[in-house]
């Protein structure tokens, strides 16, 4: 963890890791776990049950009329189905699939390059790019930004892909052109990769390798000079940001007729040393860590994602998900501790906020459950980079307050809509 420098007058700069590493393969796990999202208040239809045989690439639907599905990453037998709910109370059905060691590919996915096929089969593919936004958005998305950087610190997955696989990105861009009709493609890369990026067939924009410049909203602001209005998504201004990995996934899926099931990720150990690996979706974290020689001790933290925006998990049995870009392991002494101390208005958060939010006022409202007031203080402008809590002198969990406020407001709006 990067500490404040002795001369604290200068704002801290968190640099992205720029040295890229080749991918090492992790063998197919004996048991893969996938999480199927439960739509609110609905019961799962018995479309599959414990003991069913599934093939690699087979779609497991929640119900025949629901859009929620997962793709089985291995061939084998469903060994158990259990309930799981995430940090925000969203419930899932966990499906454990015992692999038989071979890969029988399911043939439902035809590889026909249309948007419908992408929505029907590629939502659970590595990178977890949502294709629904292309059909849901009333105004057409005409610009697609391919993010050649990973949003969080210490991760080099997308950089490595740009470095070694720009031809596959090109393939992906061609497929995306066909299925979405977007005409303007931009590849955002750090300065070091601008040469390799040139051959991908997209306009190359370099981004400064300082956190949080690789966040979608920041890329749009810095390279397109467009601002995403507060509370809106990039697609509302006709822009979609997808990772380089997603682009490669799309290209590969349509070229080979198989849904990719292998996720590329960085594993960052306690000493900050990184390894890039490719693992099946559903592989338990513990397997990956063991392969990368990362030993766990009492009171360590396993973070899915990077240190600024990742989610800590409580079990090394948790699987690799399609959007798990990294596993970061921290020892207890290296981790941030939070306190419930009051805000002293030192203003460090306000001065570092890339979205120029008055974080000190906003979080006071959020802390005392005055969520509507928090909204007036630009809650919706927050890009959730976590820099405010990183510099907070009182060690307040600022990002947590912000996300709590957003979550609670969503619930309030939901219940208002139901009551009307």
């Amino acid at each position: 963890m990067i500490k404040k420098s002795f001369l604290g007058l200068k704002k801290p700069e968190l640099k992205y890791r720029l040295e890229t590493l080749p991918f090492e393969d992790i063998p197919t796990p004996g048991e893969a776990t996938v999480f199927l999202k439960k739509p609110n208040g609905k019961l799962r239809e018995e479309l599959f049950k414990v003991g069913d045989e599934v093939k690699t690439g087979q779609k497991l639907l929640f119900s025949s009329d629901s859009p929620e599905y997962v793709i089985s990453p291995v061939t084998g037998k469903i060994s158990s189905i259990f309930s799981y709910s995430d940090a925000f109370g969203q419930s899932y059905d966990g499906i454990k699939i015992e692999s038989n060691g071979n890969d029988d590919w399911d043939d439902q996915f035809t590889g026909k390059a249309t948007l419908e096929t992408a929505i029907d089969f590629l939502e659970f593919a590595p990178g977890k790019c949502s294709f629904r936004k292309f059909s849901d958005t009333p105004d057409k998305i005409d610009t697609i930004i391919i993010n050649g950087m990973d949003v969080d610190l210490g991760i080099t997955v997308n950089q490595e892909i740009v470095k070694t696989n720009s031809s596959k990105i090109k393939e992906g861009i061609n497929s995306l052109k066909k299925i979405t009709g977007a005409s303007n493609f931009i590849l955002a890369v750090p300065e070091t990769l601008s040469k390799e990026a040139g051959s991908a067939g997209a306009t190359v924009k370099t981004i400064t390798a300082t956190f949080p410049n690789a966040l979608p909203v920041m890329i749009i602001k810095n390279s397109l000079d467009k601002v995403v209005p507060a509370g809106k998504k990039p697609e509302d201004i006709g822009v979609a940001v997808i990772s380089a990995e997603s682009a490669v996934t799309v290209g590969e899926a349509f070229a080979t007729g198989k849904i990719p099931v292998t996720k590329a990720l960085s594993v960052v150990g306690k000493d900050g040393k990184a390894t890039n690996v490719k693992a099946r979706i559903g592989t338990p974290i513990g397997d990956v860590l063991a392969k990368c020689n990362v030993a766990l001790e009492e009171n360590d933290r396993i973070i899915l994602g990077g240190p600024m925006m990742g989610t800590a998990t409580y079990s090394k049995d948790f699987p690799i998900e399609p959007n798990t870009d990294a596993i970061t392991v921290q020892s207890e002494s290296e981790s941030a501790q939070v306190s419930d101390y009051p805000c002293i208005s030192c203003g460090e958060c306000v001065r570092i906020c890339p979205a120029k939010i008055q974080v000190n006022l906003l979080c006071r409202f959020a802390e005392f459950a005055l969520y509507e007031d928090a909204e007036r203080y630009d809650l919706d402008s927050c890009i959730e980079c976590g820099l405010c809590a990183y510099v907070c002198t009182a060690k307040r969990p600022l990002l947590q307050y912000i996300k709590l406020a957003k979550h609670e407001l969503e619930l309030i709006k939901l219940s208002e809509a139901v009551n009307e």
Binding site: L9, L387, Y390, A394
Partner: protein, 321 residues
């Protein structure tokens, strides 16, 4: 694999390691140069005033914590800093009861009644000081209080001399002597050089904001300059104003208090500038010799309004514009 317990926490999982206590300890360290000069000039009584002030402030904080059944907060150092700064404002001759009352008023009325650290609208030190200054004028009149001291330089309080006898009376003060602390005044306020060193240290370490300190000094200089060219007989030179009274202490240690000062760039400049202007206005046209205390307290009140001048958040949609 063995089964270790893992800790779950919310993002971000990194922290830059800054703490309120580090901040306050550094403020105390930065106060040392000026304090040492004060103790050398005024001797052990000065040291006892400062230590009594720190101790009383911490005791007041502890008592309030216990009475209100709140978590103990003396370990964050903010009470100690308030006490230290109060001690630095006082003359070495201040009687013990005055120091204790001042420190208790600072912590209890100035801070804890509003809800403790972070909730006080006014600088606690200045509240404590203002209360005893108004209540026991004689003890805080430096000419009366420091009557028995003879450290070997002019012991008349420079600002009192200026007020009563005009600019002609300030000839006996050498600017160099004022800078290194050879003047009458508060224990920690006399040595401008020491305060400057401490202030620069705090600015470089990022514990106070240079915008406030610098604009405070600029505000004093500009206003004093304007008065001076308007009537050089009556109003002293800018440098005289800068180096006397509590200006240096105010600019680097009092106006920069976290909770009671603005956080945005432009408001910080306005805040500091207005503090400086008010200081000289009170000195030149007001009743009091020194205006720093009331200038900062006044600006503390305006602070929340000033912080409304904030940059537009990214993507903010302005309605009715």
């Amino acid at each position: 694999m063995n089964n270790n317990k893992l800790i779950v926490s919310y993002a971000p999982h990194w922290h830059d390691g800054s703490r309120i206590s580090t901040r306050n300890i550094n403020i105390m360290i930065a106060a040392f140069p000026a304090l040492i000069v004060g103790v050398i000039i005024y001797g052990m009584p000065a040291l006892s005033v400062v230590t009594l002030s720190i101790g009383s402030a911490m005791l007041a904080e502890l008592l309030i914590n216990l009475v209100a059944r709140k978590e103990l907060s003396i370990d964050d150092g903010s009470a100690a800093v308030s006490g230290l700064l109060l001690g630095m404002l006082l003359p070495a001759s201040a009687p013990w009861w005055l120091v204790v009352i001042g420190a208790f008023a600072a912590i209890i009325i100035g801070k804890q009644l509003f809800g403790g650290i972070g909730a006080n609208p006014l600088n606690p030190t200045l509240i404590g000081f203002a209360i005893i200054m108004i209540s026991w004028k004689g003890h805080l009149n430096f000419d009366e209080a420091l009557l028995n001291y003879d450290p070997g330089f002019v012991m008349a309080y420079p600002l009192a001399a200026l007020k009563h006898f005009g600019v002609a009376a300030t000839d006996k003060y050498d600017l160099m002597n004022l800078l290194i602390g050879k003047q009458s005044g508060g224990i920690g306020a006399v040595c401008g050089l020491g305060l400057l060193i401490g202030g620069i240290y705090l600015i470089l370490r990022g514990f106070i904001r240079w915008e406030i300190s610098l604009s405070f000094l600029v505000g004093v200089l500009i206003t004093a300059f304007l008065f001076n060219i308007a009537n050089p007989e009556k109003y002293a030179s800018p440098m005289f104003h800068l180096l006397t009274g509590n200006v240096m202490l105010g600019a680097f240690f009092l106006a920069t208090d976290d909770t009671t000062s603005p956080v945005n760039f432009i408001p910080m400049l306005i805040f500091g500038l207005a503090c400086g202007i008010m200081t000289v206005l009170i000195r030149c046209t007001g009743l009091y010799y020194d205006g720093v205390v009331f200038a900062i307290l006044l600006m503390n009140i305006i602070n929340p309004l000033l912080d409304k001048i904030s940059p537009k958040a990214i993507g903010k949609v302005v309605e009715n514009a």
